[in-house]
Structures are given as structure tokens and as C-alpha cells.
Amino acid sequence: MKKELIELRVNSRSYELAVEPSKLLLDALRQDLQLTGSKRGCDDSSCGACTVQVDGVPMLSCTMLAASCERQEITTIEGVSGHGSLAAIQKAYGDWGGAQCGFCTPGFIMTVTHLLAENPRPTEEDIRGALSGNLCRCTGYSQMYQAIKAAIEAEQKGMAEAR
């Protein structure tokens, strides 16, 4: 298949890429941009390991064509901690056992950052519902809830201190 030139906005940077029109966004990120934080865990759009945000909304990058995402703002896990340090949610996932093997973790973080942006004080039921499109095989999810709650507290504390 003949390649075409597309322009992708990823983590606030623009990239010009030559890709087949059939190329999946996930493959463009992993192969063409070396952003390997987004993972491929299944082939039937069920697991959520490839989750990225497209214009701020979490979606499955394995179920989108790269060429279809032109002019949209894509955020991957690599774009979550911009300042050379961990974002509160990333730190909390580490501290509270939210990540074991870590393979599903980037996808979860992309889902969770969207949840917290929309709903800064989610109930446990909100959290469970929001996470239900991402599969994890290690944690049984429980420690993720603790991590998310801890991240919310840390953010609030951080904001209070900043004031």
C-alpha cells in the first residue's frame, strides 16, 4: 500500500509522517514515533492497553487509523509527566501497588487522568465504572482505587500548599 504524508500532533508536538492509509494509530506511535508506552495487548479492541487521549478523550489507539487523527491533539502516556518528574497519579500508582507488571498501566493512567479532569472527586463506583474499559490481570484493580484516591489527596494537598 502506498504511503501518504500526514501530520500528527502528539504530546503538543507536530510530526510529519509517511504512513500507509491503513496504519493504526497505535502502530504509528510505536513504530514511527518510538512512543512505545502505549501497548498492544489484544487484537479485538477489548483490553485498553493502547489507550491514548484524542482531544482529551480516552480512546483505543489500536482501533483508529493514524491518518484519521490528523488535526487532533493526541496525548500518550509519554505526555503525562511533562516536567521530568512523576505526575501525582503516576507516583500514587507506584506507591500503592496500582502497577504490578505495568503493561496495562499506561492505558489505565490515560483513562484515569481523563476521569479526574472531568470529575475531580469521583466515588468508588465512578472509578470502577471509568476503569471498566481497561483490563488488568495482576492487581484485581483494588490497589488502583487506593492509588487514585491517594493521587486526589496529593493533588489537593499540593494545591493547598501552592496557595
Binding site: 479492541s45 480512546m59 483505543l60 482501533t63 491518518a67 484519521s68 474499559g133 481497561n134
Partner: protein
Amino acid sequence: MEEAVGYLAKHDLGIRVLAGGTDLIPSMRQGLFDSEHVLDIRHIGELRGIRPRPGNGVEIGALTTLAFIERADFLRRHYPVLTEAAATVASPLLRNMGTIGGNICLDTRCLWYNQSLTWRKGCGFCIKKDGDLCHVAPGGTKCWAAFSADTPPALLCLNAEVEIASASGVRRMRLSDFYTGEGDAYRKLQANELLTRVFLPESSADYRGVYRKLRIRGSIDYPLAGVAVAMKRSNGYVADARLAITAVNPAPLLVKGVTEMLEGKAVDEALAESVGVLAAKTAKPLTTSALTPEYRREMIRVFTKRAVMAVANGN
């Protein structure tokens, strides 16, 4: 949009429409569609959004995402059966991507069909794709792949209509006429046509509604059986009611006779039970998915009974 239907006219058979992609892309990866071209309509803005038309119901653009529908206050207030059904589709991530048009057009599913090329080679293919044998109803020439979307039964209960556009113009049809009842050629949408809008009539507004879905896992799963009910009541009696089932036939079906059975009555267990028995008779599940057909038919009965009770009691 005109550009889009122009492409469809030009490529005719060799083109597939990509909206949310949640059905098309995994299926293409399994080699289920081998069209040369994909028409990406994701960015056609005019096909997105919910537009109430005072006195005339509401129009929903085909590209409106299921997540958007799930959270639309207008729909929740006036057409609750739809928001409830939309909220059960697959998972939050897939609802962020999947569209109402895509859900209506969703390909039928079968365990013998939704498999990789290597897998399908192993069983010698099936009648829906590349073969001429049905593995779930051997000897038959009919394809029994099950229609497994959640919102169409809700839309059927609301007497929804769909708008279909092609290079030669625009036509409207009742959603109940959209499906053929065949597992393979399951919808009446030509290759050069595009489903563009969904209309919910004013006459269906403010019906109470519930949707009940049989799934093994609390998220991600498509329905293994599904029941939608919309009901209008007056002074404790049923003024009007419609009930549709999904995932147990090659098409979502309005259950015939439900309106007559319920009209003018106060709903009680026994009545709900007899509606359940009627719905179960309409269901013809086969071994197209997990759980045995007999169990899925039985769940149509139970879920129908519960849905009717719930909607009558206002839950």
C-alpha cells in the same frame, strides 16, 4: 457529506465506511472485510449532535458518540430507554469512540465468524464469509449470526426512523424495516448509501424505559440477550407499551403482541410473566455466542418480566 456519498457512489462495492471504527477495524484485522477502500467519515461535523425539534421529536446525527448520548440530559429526560441502552454498550472507552449510526449498522456476530483468517481456515469457513456451511445450524443455507447491538432495540421501542443518503438523494425509513432478519445480508443499506441521521418521533417522547442486558462480564461484553421496554402509563394503567429484544436473532425485533397484551392493564407479576413468555417465543438464539441458546432464551423471558415490572413501577 456530499463528498462522502460521492466517494461511495464512485467505489460502490469496494468501500467500507469508517465512523467510530470499533466494529470495522477489529473485523478488518481479522480479514472479515476485504474492501480496497475505507471512507473515513469521523470528521463530518454536520452528522454529529442531538437536535431537538420542538413538536417534532428529536434528530440525532449518526456520528454522535454513544458516550455523548449516554450523558445527554434531553434524551435522558424524554427518551430514557435510549440513554440506558447506550450506557451499557461495551466499555467507556468504546463508547467514547462508537457512534449511534455504527451501533445501528453493527455487523452481526457469530463465534464461527468473528475469528482470524487462520482460525476460519481451520473450520473451513462459514456461510457468512468465504464458505457455504453454517456451523450453528448445519445443513441450513441461512446465516444465523446474531445481531448484537444494544441501542437498536431501544430505538425500535421508540419507533425510530433513519435517514439514508446516497448520491441520488435522501430517503427515510422506519428502523424496523432496516433489518432483513438474515445473518449475512442483515441490513438494507446499499454499498453506496450512508446512514446519516436517526429520528425519534415526538409521539414516543416521555415514555418510561428500561433496558436489560445479559452479559457475563460487567463491562466490555456485547449483549448475549437484551430487552428494551418503553411504556406510557395513565392512572396506573398501561396506555401504550413496546418491547424489543436483541442478540438472540439475526435482527433486533419488536415483540409482536406486547402492546395488545399490556394496553389498558395494570401490570402485575403474572402479566409481566406472560409478556416474558411471549418475548421468549420470539427469541431464536443459536450457538453463536457464549452461553447455551436455551439459557439465553430463558433469560429473555426473565429479563422481559423484570423489565416490564421495573418500567411499570417506575424504576
